[in-house]
Amino acid sequence: MSTYQEFIQQNEDRDGVRFSWNLWPSSRLEATRLVVPVSCLLTPLKERPNLPPVQYEPVVCSRANCKAVLNPLCQVDFRAKIWACNFCFQRNPFPPSYAGISEMNQPAELMPQFSTIEYIVQRGPSAPLIFLYVVDTCLEEEDLQALKESLQMSLSLLPPNALVGLITFGRMVQVHELSCEGIAKSYVFRGTKDLSSKQIQEMLGLTKPAVSGQQGRPVAPQDAAAASCKFLQPVHRVDMNLTDLLGELQKDPWPVPQGKRPLRSTGVALSVAVGLLEGTFPNTGARVMLFIGGPPTQGPGMVVGDELKTPIRSWHDIQKDNARHLKKATKYYEALANRSAANGHSVDIYACALDQTGLLEMKCLSNITGGHIVMGDSFNTSLFKQTFQRVFSKDYNGDFRMAFGGVLEIKTSRELKVCGAIGPCVSLHSKGACVSENEMGIGGTSQWKVCGLNPSTTLGIYFEVVNQHNAPIPQGGRGAVQFITQYQHSNTQRRIRVTTIARNWADAQSQIQHIESSFDQEAAAVLMARLGVFRAESEEGPDVLRWLDRQLIRLCQKFGQFNKDDPTSFKLSESLSLYPQFMFHLRRSPFLQVFNNSPDESSYYRHHFVRQDLTQSLIMVQPILYSYSFYGPPEPVLLDSSSILPDRILLMDTFFQLVIYHGETIAQWRKAGYQEMAEYENFKQLLQAPLDDAQEILQTRFPMPRYIDTEHGGSQARFLLSKVNPSQTHNNLYAWGQETGAPILTDDVSLQVFMDHLKKLAVSSST
């Protein structure tokens, strides 16, 4: 077992890939019986400090519909200088530049340790990065001020040659011209009118016929891009200008009558931003960064009317089909997102408001284009400020941790087909031999576009074994998958990262034990969770839960050891032991439960869930709970109400929140001020310990979690109480004795009850 764990770890470190099964069932039938599909979590740009990119282009299979990249799994005839594609078995000659290869002198891509390799391609002109700020001006003065400062600060973080642009909006949408001296110019669009991309470009003077742009400066045909320079300028050139411009930014000047929301033309603003980039820098990495302080209230993409008396839609409204604007707005933003994705531009949404801002409708913008969504209460919080700063964080090479315009292509060996992917990507509709008809997630293609990537961006990829039961795979045969990710590096290079992995086939009937032990329950849990979340976007919550339950029961039936109809006899092997627990927490998670969450929050959580890597995803599913006490070093404890003890300090990390909870006694001590006394130095240290750990987490997490410091009985303690397994509730409090923890006032089932039911159902002969 441990070998498998090591294997898994090693594979993840090297390739950024984790499969649900590390031995693959050799036939379709068996594969379906395994319940959890053959699938993997792929982190295409996993940071690999020890992987220097090679400076040449990959060698690809010459078969037109294959084009797989030469990899260590290929058979190579060094003498004939021929290699055989391991996917299509085409024999290909090496290109002339490989004339010198031999067994002793192999190119990197043939070495097994380079199952993942990165190529730098010298193709086409390298385009600078583009950052287009789209700023809502219907903000409170304080918020606006904070936002302005953040934006000004961000200029200093950008690479000097990066292009920046600024669009502000309120009732109107203004595209600011940055190249001008003297009078600040901007192009204004009405916030209520849906304009086509062409119209927008014409109005901005970007189309060729509009030769004499605003200033009548002659614009030669070849530098249409030059015209766009009015709006997108290198940071180093307009630094001062833009800083001033941002400084002078006024709150939207249109009066807001009593009882009304300010008119916000978010829809048109985005449309203009997308149109602008579309017309000037198609297929070049660009980030549209949208900052909003409230919901779109007019024009296309409007989420709620401007009457304050009509509240913004809630889940309740949505279920009742009472959300007037929902469908229309969603459709509008989806169309925008698709346009944006088609051009390789990603859209970030920074929404800071106490109420909802329409993320539900707009989420697709970020989801599809790989942009970020950050949700906060105010722009004047460290949550926003630091998160925003972290967008521009750099890696060990001093490059931004972001990549653009990625295209992920998957090649599989014949026995496998790709069902789909779940993550911040969009289908490129590339049908090929390896595309399954059975769609899971975004399917029907073997290529996806991932407009915005960062090192932690992770996609769930789902496969289908198509080998028929009666066509056994030769002994020792291996199935292979190749992930080819082309992207624009933040230093503007175009790169291709190729990861080729192979797994052994196993006969499920004879080798079920092996298969079981190859199960990666963490990966599987996350992959199943993604499927569940993906379904939740389009299906009713209960249906999704039922589906998840059924899958779990089936899995338990398949791999559990039990006597029929005897729940007590039920046992799961170690490789599956945690899986039900994950499912239990997943069922309670905000990803599937909308109770207590606004539609925006749900969208926000789901957004992050389908893009974070395995570790983070697991934290989201089952938050981590650390306990600090005088009795020993900090230890992880069960996410259970029984862990809530008076003399402990708990640190819970749910990814989105970081909760420090002081037990009743600790809280009293703290209140009494013991930590101030020299003789209680150790208490002071105890108090400090979780803070330090929390800081550590805060430092690395993106987006910044909400930091909550609370104590027993504190109102914010609810964040903890809602997460822990309610092993003790008001219902069973007295059955469990006193000193063991804190009761949770809930009717939710506890893990024990859940497990009992699971066992019962799993062993039931009736299913």
């Binding site: 203004q174 003297g182 901007s186 204004v188 009405r190 605003q214 400066r217 002078e248 000047p253």
Partner: protein
């Protein structure tokens, strides 16, 4: 009737008057009577007169009192502060008596002074209508000839002469009168002074003119010129002067002169000289008034008017004139000398009386006809008579007489005769001369015009006079075509005289007249009739002890609100009558309550938005930088009501080419911000706060902006522009700000960029003269009509400044300005250097002039007539309310009335024009103009009391609107027909039976043919080859909102000979005919839109030196637009005159120097409206013949 009318009027008014006018008058008292008299005179004249006259004469002396009364009035009204004091009226009471006296005096005066008067008033004149056989003459030339022929010759020759004459005479004439009339009038205020000055100029000029004139005319003229002119002039003037004329008019004048003396200030020169003159003139007449002689020239018309005086003069003059004379002899013969004789004597003795008498008898009604002959005699006497209609018929006969005077100018005498006959042509001098009429009116108008008398026609627009509001609106606000309306629609139809009023609701008054008082009736708003909603006015009758009032418009009885209650005095008038402007004045304003506001909210202060085209052409022509530079200083002069305070008008700026650029000029910004809106298909305003700002607060930002705009677009290459969206933008901005306002659009080219309101070039000269021609006047599509509607709804007035280099489709672009009460200014081929001055002056005036917004005008009338049609720059969404997004002081609306029932002679016809508007300080107000005219059951009364200038204004507007829907030829024919019917009706019903071949014109309409011809020949109705479609559309729209004064000078330009310029008066104008130009002279012509300085080819070097500072004709730079500043009195005076002309007009006139024989002379000649026009327009003489033919056809 008259009597009754007068009395009542006088008494009521009289009292108030005292209060009002006093300040001004005091001085007058002594001298005034005379002036006063003239006015009354007319009235008296009408009245059988005689009786009144009797008393009148006596009174004359007493007259002063009346004067005083008026004075009081003035005081009352005086803005000085006394204004509202009620008390004054009381004190004034005494004056009233005077009032009555004035009457008499008036009569007396009339008789005396009047020569001129009668003309106006018609009776005498009408009577005098000239019975010329002209028509025949012309037509057949032969038959009537006997008399005619003889005359004819002189005439023909005369024309040239006459021109010179007229010029000369008038000036002199004027001068003469000035003393008399001018002083009186002037005394009141500044007005006077101006007038006098002009007059002054007169005398000297005459002589010169004559010279000049002689030259230009023809070979003959040359002839004459060389020799005769000098002598003739000299001799003449004196002679003509001597006479008769001065005396009569002056006779009354003398008193006036006295009064003048007090006033001397205005006419310093005059006072001293004139008085004596007059007197002398009277006494010795001929001799003394050498200066006057000029007057005689008018002869043509004079005969009629002068008749009374004439006769005596004739005899006298003739004697004196002997020189002139061959003609004279003739005249007498043909003319009813008999008549004259009578009068003359009288005159000699008592000019005034005599005058009266004659008119008296004649006056009442038809007498004119018969009198005609009489007139003739008179004509000879003085130059004055000419004015009278008699002109035509008499002309000939009178001419003789005239001839004397005119011909007097010997020059003619000799040459003329020969040529004339040869040509068989009608003598231009024998036909009614506009100049003569104008001059006569000036002479006649010697005292302030009081509006208290119902149905009294005011002096002509060309005359300077002061107005005293005594219950009817000043003629500056309302002028009617007829001051005596027919009682029934049958009569109206029969006569075909249009019943219309030209209303200029916000007209600016001269500084010596009090602006309308503002009345606040408190929270409940103005008191109004319950039924017809007419506003409280002097016509309301209080009954039941003052508890109710009866509306005189609809007769409905309405309760008087308690807070407005007041007791009545024994005459049934409210005790506080003279303390309340709404009970005693013709014009006043009410403060409106919120009920009168849009959405029941007090209005926001208005905003001005400047929208500047910055396309290539605009930048290149320099327009952009000029506008921007000018705005910097101009913004300090936005209209305001209280000069002490800053204007509350907010401003905004937009530039545009194919897209629009709005500017944020919020005070808190360091730099303005430009907001580009390219979505022209669906215009909107990108910002509110910061777009419309207070000038003072945002001064720095605005200046920075205006500095930068020209730079920013300095190298633009954008040539396409939009237009519709530009107006939409302004409109949206005003909507967003929820205020009314004005857009100033500076535009260069046809808007061909893709946008709403895009236009295509449809200039196609081939369509001219076809049925499709009218389409060229119609806007393309309905876009701009709809836009205009929206603008009006918001109170968004649009002023358009065009700088086209080619066709821009003014017909379409002008739709919005015209419908919103805005103005269009067009500067074709704008060049910074030459057109800047004109443009800037227009801009300044346009920005600064008083303006009201979001106005609604409603004209209510007494039962029996109804306002049926409206002409002007406005929009109407129903049939009664005239909606004006903006209404400035230059906009006039012509309203046509039709009968829907009978009117009664007793009550007359009342009209009340109420204009609800937002003042430039954001106050909602109602301006009320009340007007009462008489009603008559005799056609003759109608014809006696018409105003031709106003009729022409109506005709022009009617015709210019007609071209939208009809063929221009049809429109012209309609005009000619109607005119012929008017005249034929007169001939048939009012004129004494005479030979059908005689052309008899009503005195007050004797200029109808000449003016009508000018209308017919205008570029709109009969375009020349070089007149662009844009020009026609431009003129068409321009006319639509012109007032009477503007249309008058537009159709009959003022042509001044520049000979000797007197420091205080203008030279007498000459008729607009090339024949009147002397090769050796320099002439100044003003059309209201253009200013020409015509330089004869053999101009005297001295003139050149004085004007241009150059030695020779060839050195004159004809491209100059302003005269060099030379340090000589002539140059100074000339420039003063030019400046004063410009100040009079709402648009700045660019000076164009035209050298004789130069190419540009064609343009100039186009305005010589008495001549045949290049485009086929008939000459005056030809047209008159044609008209006569038409009339005869109708009669037969």
């Amino acid at each position: 009737m008259n009597v009754n009318q007068h009395t009542p009027m006088a008494s009521p008014y009289g009292q108030p008057q005292p209060g009002y006018g006093q300040p001004g008058y005091p001085p007058l008292d002594g001298g005034y009577p005379a002036p006063y008299a003239p006015y009354n005179g007319p009235a008296s004249a009408y009245q059988p007169g005689v009786p009144p006259q009797g008393p009148a004469r006596g009174p004359p002396t007493s007259a002063p009192p009346p004067v005083s009364a008026p004075q009081q009035y003035n005081q009352y009204s005086h803005s000085l502060g006394d204004v509202q004091n009620g008390p004054p009226p009381m004190t004034q009471a005494p004056p009233r008596p005077a009032g009555s006296q004035p009457y008499n005096q008036g009569a007396a005066n009339l008789t005396g002074a009047h020569p001129s008067y009668p003309q106006h008033y018609g009776p005498p004149p009408t009577m005098e209508q000239v019975t010329n056989q002209m028509t025949r003459m012309q037509v057949t030339s032969g038959p009537p000839t006997p008399a005619g022929p003889g005359y004819a010759p002189p005439q023909s020759s005369q024309p040239p002469i006459s021109t010179s004459y007229q010029a000369a005479p008038q000036p002199s004439y004027t001068q003469a009168p000035p003393p008399v009339s001018s002083t009186p009038t002037q005394p009141p205020s500044s007005g006077g002074p101006a007038a006098p000055q002009q007059y002054f100029a007169g005398p000297p000029p005459p002589s010169q003119q004559q010279f000049a004139s002689s030259l230009p005319p023809t070979s003959q003229q040359q002839f004459t010129s060389s020799v005769p002119p000098p002598p003739s002039q000299q001799t003449f003037p004196p002679s003509s002067f001597s006479g008769p004329i001065p005396p009569p008019s002056r006779a009354p004048a003398p008193p006036a002169s006295q009064s003048q003396q007090p006033f001397p200030t205005p006419q310093p020169p005059f006072s001293s000289a004139p008085p004596p003159v007059n007197q002398s003139g009277f006494a010795a007449g001929p001799p003394a008034q050498s200066s006057f002689p000029p007057q005689p020239p008018p002869p043509s018309s004079q005969p009629g008017s002068f008749p009374p005086p004439g006769p005596p003069p004739t005899s006298a003059p003739s004697g004196q004139y002997p020189t002139p004379m061959p003609h004279q002899q003739q005249p007498p013969t043909t003319q009813p000398s008999p008549y004259h004789p009578g009068p003359p004597p009288l005159r000699a003795q008592m000019p005034p009386t005599s005058n009266h008498l004659p008119p008296g008898p004649q006056g009442p009604s038809c007498p004119p006809g018969p009198l005609g002959p009489l007139q003739q005699p008179p004509s000879p006497q003085t130059g004055y008579p000419p004015q009278q209609n008699g002109a035509f018929g008499q002309v000939r006969s009178p001419q003789p007489g005239y001839a004397g005077p005119y011909p007097g100018q010997p020059n003619y005498g000799a040459p003329a005769p020969a040529p004339a006959p040869a040509q068989k042509r009608l003598d231009p001098d024998s036909i009614p001369s506009p100049i003569q009429v104008i001059e006569d009116d000036k002479v006649k108008t010697t005292e302030p015009f009081t509006t208290g008398v119902r149905g009294q026609a005011p002096p002509l627009v060309t005359t300077n006079f002061q107005v005293k509001d005594q219950g009817n609106a000043s003629p500056r606000f309302i002028r009617c075509t007829a001051y005596n309306m027919p009682c029934t629609s049958d009569m109206a139809k029969q006569s075909q005289v249009p019943l219309a009023a030209v209303i200029k609701p916000l007209a600016t008054l001269p500084p010596d007249e009090t602006p309308p008082y503002l009345v606040d009736h408190g929270e409940s708003g103005p008191i109004r009739c319950n039924r017809c909603k007419a506003y409280m006015c002097p016509y309301m009758q209080f009954i039941e002890g003052g508890r109710r009032f009866q509306c005189s418009f609809c007769n409905c009885v309405t309760e008087v609100p308690p807070h407005y209650f007041q007791h009545l005095d024994h005459t049934g008038k409210r005790v506080d009558c003279y303390e309340r402007p709404e009970l005693s004045l013709g014009t006043y304003e009410f403060l409106a309550t919120v009920d009168y506001c849009k959405n029941n909210k007090p209005p926001q202060p208005p905003a001005f938005i400047f929208l500047i085209d910055v396309s290539y052409n605009a930048v290149k022509s320099g327009m952009v930088s000029i506008v921007c530079h000018e705005l910097k200083s101009l913004l300090d002069h936005l209209p305001r009501e209280n000069p002490e305070m800053d204007s509350v008008v907010r401003v905004g700026f937009v530039t545009y080419n194919k897209v629009l650029h709005f500017y944020n000029v919020k005070a808190s910004l360091a730099q303005p911000q430009m907001l580009v809106v390219s979505d022209v298909s669906d215009m909107f305003v990108p910002l509110l706060d910061g777009f419309l700002v207070n000038v003072n607060e945002s001064r720095q930002v605005i200046e920075s902006l205006l500095d930068q705009i020209p730079e920013m677009f300095a190298d633009t290459r954008e040539t396409e522009t939009v237009f519709g969206p530009v107006i939409q933008a302004g409109l949206e901005a005003l909507k967003a700000a929820d205020c009314a306002g004005k857009l100033f659009v500076f535009h260069t080219s046809l808007p061909i960029a893709e946008a709403p309101g895009k236009l295509k070039n449809r200039e196609d000269k081939k369509l001219i003269g076809t049925d499709k021609e009218k389409s060229l006047f119609q806007p393309q599509g309905g876009f701009y009509n709809n836009l205009a509607k929206d603008c009006v709804a918001q109170g968004c007035c649009v002023d358009l400044f065009l700088f086209p280099n080619q066709y821009v489709d003014v017909a379409t672009l002008g739709v919005v300005p015209v419908s919103t009460g805005g103005s269009i200014y067009k500067y074709t081929y704008f060049q910074a250097q030459t057109d800047q001055e004109r443009f800037l002056n227009d801009l300044r005036r346009d920005v600064q002039k008083p303006v009201g917004f979001d106005a609604v005008m409603r004209v209510r009338t007494s039962t029996g007539i109804r306002a049926t049609d409206f002409f002007g720059s406005f929009y109407m969404s129903n049939t009664t309310d005239v909606e004006l997004a903006g209404l400035d002081c230059d906009k006039a609306v012509t309203v046509e009335f039709k009968h829907d029932d009978k009117l009664s002679e007793e009550t007359g016809a009342l009209m009340q024009c109420a204009v609800l508007y937002t003042s430039c300080s954001g106050q909602r107000r109602l301006r009320i103009h009340n007007m009462a005219v008489n009603c008559c059951s005799q056609l003759a009364d109608l014809y006696r009391n018409c105003e031709t200038d106003t009729i022409i204004n109506y005709f022009a507007k009617y015709a210019f609107r007609g071209v939208l829907n009809s063929h221009t030829k049809a429109v012209r024919d309609t005009l000619v027909n109607q005119c012929a019917q008017i005249l034929a009706c007169y001939r048939k019903n009012c004129a004494s039976p005479s030979s059908a071949g005689q052309l008899i014109l009503p005195e007050c309409m004797k200029l109808l043919p000449v003016y009508l011809n000018c209308v017919l020949k205008s570029d709109v109705l009969m375009p020349g080859a070089d007149v662009s479609l844009d020009d026609r559309a431009y003129l068409r729209q321009l006319i639509s909102c012109m007032d009477v004064a503007e249309t008058h000078v537009f159709f009959y330009p003022r042509l001044l000979p520049l000979v000797k310029l007197d420091s205080s008066s203008l030279p007498m104008a000459v008729r607009d005919s090339e024949e009147r130009l002397s090769k050796g002279g320099v002439y100044l012509m003003e059309t209201g839109l253009h200013l020409f300085l015509w330089v004869g080819a053999s101009v005297q070097q001295e003139l050149l030196l004085n004007i241009f500072g150059t030695q020779s004709f060839s050195q004159i730079d004809s491209s100059m637009t302003s005269l060099p500043v030379l340090n000589n009195p002539f140059s100074q005076r000339l420039r003063e005159i030019i400046d004063s002309f410009r100040a009079q007009r709402s648009r700045y006139m660019k000076l164009m120097v035209v050298k004789q024989e130069d190419r540009t002379e064609l343009i100039f000649k186009h305005f010589l409206v008495e001549d045949k026009s290049a485009s086929g327009g008939a000459s005056y003489v030809d047209f008159l013949c044609h008209m006569h033919k038409e009339i005869r056809q109708l009669l037969s």
